[in-house]
Symmetry: C3
């Protein structure tokens, strides 16, 4: 075993200048132990259905489902098969979880200076009590250590939820979802708060994989045939009502571009009919999504759900990987985005309505200062979500604060959300945000831009209050 002790420095991620570091530490201390508000993410609610559920092996938990992790090894020539990523066609992949773990450990240096590296280290130390830096030599011993913990009753998803001090955890659920897992959790009497989020992309984006099957699933969920645009609207309204009843506070929409634009019902139906026949064009899909985003804004004004739009990911860029392994395999690549022109129709119709809360997320940081901060600094309905995906990192957060807050103001932002399917990484992710926030505010204090009274309010807002307010939690 290596003799490198692994510790988490109490001042980690703070500026090295002592004046700023001291204030960052003071501010961070006031929020370090606050409950975690998790208004957007991809944790599977099923985890919390069974009191005694297990996460499986260390490899099940930390490698196989985490595309942040395996994309990095893949980029350096490790086949996904060797990492146990299940194939679509059932062709064989590595089944020996210890061997996969060994491969992971031997490549752990690839995560130097990366957010995944930061999260994994903190997770291994804080959640699992690992005391040595992971490497090839100690890989099996650490595997044993984690496996032993995962087998204990203190490491079920529910116990970890409680230990993490999660106040609320919102999942992301298809429009056609029965929300049976959510119902079971509610019925179980467990005090954890797990809420659904309404995500209708699979039926609203005509070019979504398996669109037709998704529409059929929606028909099944509502009990009538969704065979026209009018029926689609009716079905979505019915499902939204159900989600609200089940505790949903928000909807979520992913689109390649921020294009919005209204169609007449006649135009919308003509496109929908073409799609049912498998004859919709790429342009049809763009226009339909653009129209449906406007419809979603209208419905949000009516039912009060916060609307999230995530823009700019070219999904499944690597077709060979997609065909063999499916969605979410680390090959979604951002594209340049445009909001000023694209969002104008939606904002013209709904942007001045204070009943709407529209949260925007971008993968194109160039739009932060140019478009998003200026839009959010004007339109009452608009707020900016936290740095997303690749930008949910120390540098990404610094750039976000740097480019967004001067123009948008802090109060047109929506705090943090972890947006993760990797449940045990949640505390580390919030901790990085809280530390980055404390360090940013400390930088303003030490430059005499804000005073300590303001700073104490700001760090509380960033760590806890802004997310609750934005999502009405």
């Amino acid at each position: 075993m290596s003799d490198t002790k692994w510790t988490l420095h109490p001042d980690r991620f703070f500026d090295p200048a002592p004046a700023q570091r001291t204030i960052a530490r003071e501010l961070y201390a006031t929020v370090a132990d606050l409950p975690l508000v998790c208004p957007h993410g991809h944790v599977n609610p099923r985890l919390f259905v069974d009191e005694h559920a297990s996460f499986g092996t260390p490899t099940d938990l930390l490698i196989i489902p985490d595309h942040y992790v395996f994309r990095m090894l893949y980029s350096q020539g490790v086949p996904l098969e060797a990492l146990g990523v299940p194939s679509n066609d059932g062709s064989p992949v590595e089944q020996d979880h210890r061997k996969i773990w060994q491969t992971f450990a031997e490549h752990f240096h690839l995560f130097r200076g990366t957010p995944s590296g930061i999260w994994l280290k903190q997770e291994l130390i804080e959640v699992f009590g690992v005391e040595e830096k992971l490497c090839g030599a100690n890989a099996q011993a650490i595997y044993d250590h984690i496996a032993a913990q995962l087998a204990s009753p203190n490491f079920t998803p529910r116990r970890m939820y409680e230990r993490f001090k999660i106040e609320v955890l919102c999942t992301t659920d298809a429009a056609s979802d029965t929300l049976q897992d959510h119902q079971t959790i509610r019925d179980s009497g467990w005090r954890g708060k797990v809420l659904p989020t309404f995500r209708p992309d699979a039926v609203v984006n005509l070019d979504a994989p398996n669109w037709r099957a998704n529409v059929d699933a929606l028909s099944a969920a509502v009990g009538f045939e969704v065979d026209s645009y009018g029926k689609l609207i009716q079905a979505l309204e019915a499902r939204r009502a159900f989600f609200v009843e089940m505790g949903a506070h928000a909807t979520d929409h992913a689109a390649l571009t921020a294009y919005t634009g209204e169609l007449t019902p006649h135009e919308a139906d003509a496109i929908f009919q073409r799609a049912l026949k498998g004859a919709a064009t790429a342009d049809d899909a763009t226009r339909f999504t653009g129209h449906m985003l406007m419809e979603m804004a209208r419905m949000s004004i009516e039912d009060g759900m916060v609307m999230q739009i995530h823009v700019g990911s070219f999904r499944n860029h690597n077709l060979a990987v997609f065909e063999r392994f499916g969605l979410d395999k680390g090959c979604d690549i951002p594209v340049a985005s445009e909001f000023t022109h694209n969002l104008r129709p939606l904002l013209a119709k709904y942007g001045n309505d204070p009943r709407l809360t529209l949260l925007l997320f971008t993968l194109d940081e160039d739009t932060y200062a140019r478009e998003l901060a200026t839009l959010a600094g004007h339109y009452p309905a608009l707020k900016l979500g936290p740095p997303w995906w690749f930008h949910d990192s120390l540098n990404g957060m610094r750039r976000y604060f740097d480019r967004v807050t001067e123009t948008a103001g802090l109060y047109n932002t929506a705090g943090f959300n972890d947006d993760t399917r990797a449940f045990p990484s949640i505390p580390a992710r919030h901790d990085v945000w809280r530390r980055a926030s404390a360090n940013w505010v400390a930088g303003l204090v030490v430059r005499h831009v804000v005073d300590m009274d303001d700073a104490h309010e700001m760090i509380l807002d960033l760590a806890y209050r802004l997310a609750k307010r934005a999502y009405k939690l």
Copy 2:
């Protein structure tokens, strides 16, 4: 009343590392008290016509005309009506200036960490002697305090101009303007130097609001009918000559894009005739503006006026606000810009001519390092204006220095201009620039990129000399 004392820290905005801070302080001290050179802005010359003019109430001065201020409150749900912003249609808006001030004070936390917050604080402390941090509780007392000062003879625009040590203040004036206010100021014998700037957008951009009426105003100003492209050129040349005679050193041009391209006189006239008939297309407008920018460059070579181009603002993005409240209501939103292709025709014809000074301003910071610094670092005619509008901020200035100067060199930039209509914010704005400049140069010194001899030259250039040189003042 709150007991929070409000002070301006002498080291504000400097880096917290003591080595850099010490040098920044030393450099700043050498320029802190230099006169203010204001080569571009939007202060109304009428202010200086009457020796005894008053700014009105604190609300008249600081809130109602300042879209930087009211956009932030609007974005958080405060209606513009409640802030006394006058409506176009005369429908009622709040008239109680104390009540508006109270609303402003109660939302003052929205400006935490924003440039508006920095300017307002410095203005209230330095110009008006406010000693407590503005909040709801002390709003009325501070209102009384400012109102009392504004009523005193020491707070007329002319006395403030003198107190601010302004060396020259350039206004921005329509091509058809009689410049009567400028004439009156000159005739008055007052020693303040207030110069006009020639801005012909209203007649040159065919899609400008009220374009036809603007052309009629131009006809009236020149005393002949501007009914052809030839007459337009003749009229603009006549007006430029008049502006030069009245002391103008520069022209200013706003355009959505940097597109330039020459038309034949025949093509230009065909478009102009269509515009007169109200039949010009969007493409006509783009091509005409692109052509007129080239004509303006030609005229600048002939009459020596410095040419400014401000690119990339989508004006009046929020149509509902525009229709109800008019121009400049905080809803102009930037768009991505392109200079390399767009400026090529103009630069091919005039870019190598050292008689031309063309100053570029952008709202798209992505063009700083990629296009603007490389163009300015080559073409003799080209220089870069300071960070503009949303980027006239501590972070905006840091990013500008960071991305522009390595490639363009400091000497292809044009120093600072405050670009403001908020007259009492002028000293604070220049102070932010001087401090940001001192801190940037100190960063170069402490990293041993430049020595102290160079640093002393550079801070003088940044604070004073570059602007004078670029605008030939």
Copy 3:
């Protein structure tokens, strides 16, 4: 003479916070004296053919061939003629090298805070032992000093190569090049390692200046008529084989955009035939280059040469300068670039093949975090080259580390290359990179993102190992 002593501070370019500076110094010390690996650049191999070759006068060496230097003076109104830049048409330019040097010295302040300023200072001090800051007053004395050194046998190209501790120096050579200079160097028995790089742009980009003549030169080199697309492929394969035999490890490709896309052989030949007739369109050129990039990737998989693509330079933007002075005269201007869509065809076909190493270079930093880091962090074939051209600077390197490494990981980057034709600037350029790297890693250490064990590995990778690995040297 000025009495300003010129020295290089041992802590130059490090952060002023003592904690970070101390670690940066420690890390830098471990790599400061490592040999220089130069896998991409534009040094003329002829320099090394003759044991006794001379660089000429100081002006020959440092001004006339260096477009980084003369573009800055040109931008401030100094004609290229006055700097001795040779004209295409033989019209007279300044021949007095002392006078040119004087002009340069009198404008030396233009380089304050620029990378050229940093390189020139270090070069003058370290390579030539200049002890005073260059200015108009000491220009002639310093000229004498450098001229004396250049005349000594210790300042031949070969002796400087050895003194610089260059381990390998790759040149850039046309596809039709006989590589005679390389052969002569090999035959001479000198121990310096100077390797060719295969750059076929002149025949592959149909819009390259003198394309037809370039094809003829290729025909001459292969000994058969390149009169069809099939013959072009055959010729390129033959030349690649020859380059490999002559020690080439890499190819290099410059393109305005990253567009890739496969043509059928029939389509490719139709375009090629149009080009031979002088009838190829701009679209033909784009599609042909896009196709040939894919062919080059295929050939790289076959012959093992590393493939470099440099994207986004609008060459010869200033047509008047190009016509009078030719290529590479400081008027190449970057344009916005796009990789996600453009590279997809090439990556779909070859991106998952670990036999391919494709190195990408961009002039559009906006693509770092958005597109390049995410692509390189997924595709096994892809790595990112170092910050290129205008971004080969302290700020450019900081931005590169900041935006690239979190998502791509350090190990999907390719270390440093100096990319220069200014041979004596090579040590200064590598030194800037090594110091910037040490400072970046120190920043991670002091923020407790990586530990010192990792830091020591990372600085070795950055300074030496990554470049060797990426280029298989």
